[in-house]
Symmetry: C2
Subunit: 199 residues, 2 copies
């Protein structure tokens, strides 16, 4: 049926390429665009082009940025002596939102996953070590995900960094804020109890 409206079915096909968006949702989004003002639709199209034109990766920390080096790497108010290593730019944004960290960052752009062909050379590990060798950094927080790949990456990096005489830490495991202990999985409870803290 949609074959008779090629511009519509083309947009649905393009939108359905997004992760987690199937054909039905894509059609719903396309109808929303169809109903919106022309200026709004053009603003969206323009924002997409603009993003591809302006965004690049910081040559120091590899976070997304419009200026290189990025504001996080050049901000003199941030602590130069601590580096937080994350897998993806999203993780960095999440940590920034928590306002819990005021040092520098390093984005690996992935985690070690030999089965998917992702080894140390596919990630930005080599220049992390170069940054550390400059001698200004005295702590590395390994904030990779708490998945199998993330844990493996953290372990690998810890072994690489410790010989440089730099403190290596990892964010605490434990029970999330607002949870009922009853419903938390046993591995998390185990880690929370064994990592209990003095009040």
């Amino acid at each position: 049926m949609l074959d008779s409206i090629p511009s519509f079915s083309r947009l649905v096909a393009e939108l359905a390429k997004f992760p987690g968006i199937g054909n039905k949702t894509a059609a719903r989004l396309a109808f929303h665009i169809l109903r919106s003002q022309e200026s709004e639709a053009l603003a969206l199209a323009d924002a997409i082009c603009d993003l591809k034109k302006k965004i690049r990766f910081c040559s120091i920390c590899h976070h997304i940025t419009e200026s290189d080096p990025c504001p996080l790497c050049t901000d003199p108010a941030r602590d130069e002596q601590v580096v937080c290593v994350v897998e993806e730019p999203q993780d960095l944004i999440s940590i920034e939102r928590s306002r819990s960290f005021h040092g520098r960052y390093h984005v690996l752009h992935g985690a070690l996953s030999p089965l998917d062909g992702v080894g140390p050379d596919e990630l930005h590990m080599h220049d992390l070590v170069e940054r550390l060798k400059e001698g200004r950094i005295n702590e590395v927080i390994l904030a990779t995900n708490f998945s199998v790949e993330g844990e493996a990456t953290a372990l690998y990096l810890a072994r690489l960094i410790k010989p440089l005489g730099i403190r290596v830490t990892r964010p605490a495991h434990g029970i999330p804020m607002g949870s009922d202990i009853e419903y938390v999985d046993e591995a998390t409870v185990h880690r929370a109890v064994s990592g209990r803290q003095e009040l």
Copy 2:
């Protein structure tokens, strides 16, 4: 944090305007665009512009189309004597997908909803009656939704059309395919039993 990357936060804001897409999903979609090939992102932007440029509404049935009148209104293989009335273009597409109907359509672009200020003049009802008065149509299927507004719209149209001596029908209520009767709501079961059919 995202304030330092205006082109990124602008795209997130534009994407978050979609129905059912919040800031987190919008950020995920924006990251997907960021990671995709430039050609793919431009294809999406182009598809959005193209849709707004090419799509209009058919002057006869008010379905979305690139040519006026639309292929559904001009197809000589379709039955001219039956018109199916739906609320939205999506409903028409859904009926076309079911391959259950081979007549003409009429899209109202909404349903009667006095509280939202939608009366008969806000919908394409007037020219539906004009189409019927031409005398070629002998059945109208009222396929508005089975919601309060949709039922009210069907009732209103039935009263308008019956005096013209045209048969007025409505798709059957009943238990959906593949359902356990146990889990179907009582109003649906009630309708299904009272509307039972001879085998």
